[in-house]
């Protein structure tokens, strides 16, 4: 069963194309990361998902309901932590939750919800005096009210310190264990990597990759990278290393050889360089980080290749 089905979605703001013919399906029960640099179209997509904005063309179906024509049915089963939101400064944390509980027509206890996000001690203070992290926790508590089937979290770690970000991840996992589908956006790969089953990478309004974390790792040509120290890092040496059968790509970086390992063991590559090109003095291994991959996907090729 599909929790979110985005079909040929396009959104223009005047001349600006925020999202261009986006297709994406999020399955029920998964934690789905929606990754992209700032301004890539993540928030626009989420805004349309929640009917804050209307699509130029295409459609979005959430939990079997059309996001535009049946928005209320969608939001009845969806908990939302929007991006760029603002709390009601003159209302207390408890009043926020009382309002949400009444509107969602559920019987959750506001205090319990505030305890889950660890701001119960500030329940009766006006939210205008909350710190950024506390506001984020309050908004999360509002999203969790009513035990939704789907959580849509737009940049959930905004304003949270590392500890808070970890607690946020724990809450996401907890909710997911109870069967909740989680869709969350981020511009930081590390956060997505830590919890997501699958990831979509979006750049300039277009989808550039959808896969599992492992799949993304496997699919990337930066499988593994070796930094090899040799005496001679001339153009000729680089060319000869690149020509080796076990090497996918070779270049120089900081006076060392940067070698991308192809379908072979690192040991075989080192041996091949040592034996047939130039003596190896030292080497280090870098496991391809997804951050690297993310940068690669979302920057122009020329900027990445040094």
């Amino acid at each position: 069963m599909t929790a979110i089905d985005i079909d040929d979605l396009t959104k223009h703001y005047g001349d600006v194309v925020a999202v261009n013919e986006l297709n994406l399906a999020v399955e029920e029960g998964e934690i789905f990361g929606f990754l992209g640099p700032n301004g890539a179209g993540k928030s626009t997509t989420i805004d349309i998902l929640l009917d804050f904005s209307r699509p130029t063309s295409g459609s979005v179906t959430v939990l079997g309901h059309d996001a535009q024509s049946e928005g209320q049915a969608v939001r009845r089963r969806t908990g939302v932590l929007p991006d760029g939101y603002h709390v009601y400064d003159r209302l207390t944390g408890r009043q926020h939750l009382e309002f949400v509980v009444e509107l969602k027509d559920v019987d959750d206890d506001p205090t319990e919800l505030l305890e889950r996000v660890r701001i119960a001690d500030a329940a009766d203070r006006k939210a205008g005096g909350y710190s950024k992290g506390m506001r984020q926790r309050l908004a999360l508590a509002m999203a969790l009210a009513g035990d939704p089937d789907l959580l849509v979290l737009d940049e959930p770690s905004t304003g949270l310190d590392p500890n808070g970000a970890r607690e946020m991840r724990e809450l996401i996992r907890e909710e997911n264990d109870r069967g909740t589908t989680v869709f969350f956006s981020s511009h930081i790969m590390e956060q997505v990597e830590a919890v997501c089953d699958r990831v979509a990478i979006i750049n300039r309004g277009e989808l550039v990759a959808v896969d599992t974390i492992d799949g993304l790792r496997d699919a990337s040509e930066t499988g593994e990278v070796l930094y090899v120290e040799v005496d001679d890092v001339s153009e000729a040496v680089v060319e000869r290393v690149a020509g080796l059968e076990s090497v996918a790509d070779a270049s120089t970086q900081d006076g060392r050889l940067r070698v991308v390992v192809a379908d072979a063991t690192k040991f075989a590559v080192l041996q091949a360089i040592d034996a047939s090109v130039t003596p190896v003095r030292d080497f280090s291994v870098v496991e391809s980080s997804l951050e690297d991959l993310f940068v690669r996907y979302t920057n122009d090729e020329q900027e990445v290749r040094v």
Partner: protein, 287 residues
């Protein structure tokens, strides 16, 4: 019925507005002071026969017809534009409600805040007058309150409607103040100016009948007529102190649209039209 929850939340929020209570404070001071002046020296206010409760009510209309528009602007101009500018509307629209319910809840909530502030102000002002006069007229007060609350509802609807057309509080302020300037400050002048022009740059000796309903387009003029329509006996006994066009006697064979009841129609129309325009714009907006 999620609009009730929205209205309650909005009331809780907006009733804490300091600007509103500053305005209520000024209103109370002004009404206490002027009530006192009216009762002590009624001759000054065109009542050589002495102060009456009816006179006091009409006197208060002059105050409320200024207070309500200003208070409505203060309470309502940010109602939707402010939530959109800050982004709190995203928390609201993330919930299982619709834009119609949000819009209706906003209008009702803000009208409630306005009514509350107004109620406090009037209670103190008229209460003070009743004590000084040693008399209370319950029915006129009730009818006066009905008219004033209707006026407040119309103004809340207008300013919320204007606020719904934009996501910028700066523009919302401009629209609200612009409305006030055009329909409250200049509206007396505009129809007369038109008349002046079409009459060949001279004022006619008598005003044509259509001038009256055109004047009533201004919500505060409609409000005054509404009070006259609801309290015909009082208005007959009180010289309506220079307020244009409402002193005419019902005995004359005037066209129906010169009856003061037109004020009620105008207030209802303002409420409905503003609601529809504001809602249509809000419904279509990317927030």
């Amino acid at each position: 019925m999620t609009w009730i929850a929205v209205a309650k939340k909005d009331f809780r929020d907006a009733v804490q507005s300091r600007a509103l209570w500053a305005l209520v404070g000024v209103f109370v001071l002004l009404s206490v002071f002027s009530t006192y002046a009216y009762i002590e020296v009624p001759q000054l206010f065109g009542e050589p026969a002495g102060a009456t409760f009816g006179g006091l009510v009409f006197f208060t209309v002059g105050l409320t017809s200024l207070f309500v528009p200003l208070a409505a602007i203060v309470v309502c101009y940010k109602s939707l534009a402010g939530e959109r500018e800050l982004g709190s509307i995203k928390l609201l629209l993330s919930l299982p409600t619709t834009r119609l319910h949000v819009y209706a809840g906003k209008t009702v909530g803000r009208a409630g805040v306005l009514a509350f502030g107004l109620g406090v102000g009037l209670l103190v002002g008229l209460g003070f007058g009743a004590v000084l006069l040693g008399a209370v007229a319950v029915v006129p007060i009730a009818l006066f309150l009905v008219a004033t609350l209707g006026f407040a509802a119309a103004y809340a609807s207008i300013i919320v409607g204007l606020s719904a057309t934009t996501g910028s509080t700066t523009r919302a302020t401009t629209l609200a103040l612009g409305f006030f300037v055009v329909f409250e400050l200049f509206w007396d002048v505009i129809p007369v100016a038109i008349l002046y022009v079409i009459n060949g740059l001279a004022l006619p000796t008598s005003m044509p009948d259509w001038i009256f309903p055109v004047m009533q387009v201004s919500p505060s003029a409609a409000y005054f007529s509404t009070v006259v329509a609801l309290l015909p006996d009082l208005s007959a006994s009180v010289s309506a102190g220079g307020q244009a066009g409402v002193g005419m006697s019902p005995a004359e064979a005037e066209p129906f649209y010169t009856a003061p009841e037109i004020g009620i129609v105008v207030l209802v129309l303002w409420t409905i039209v503003a609601f529809l325009v504001g809602y249509t714009r809000f419904e279509a907006a990317d927030v």
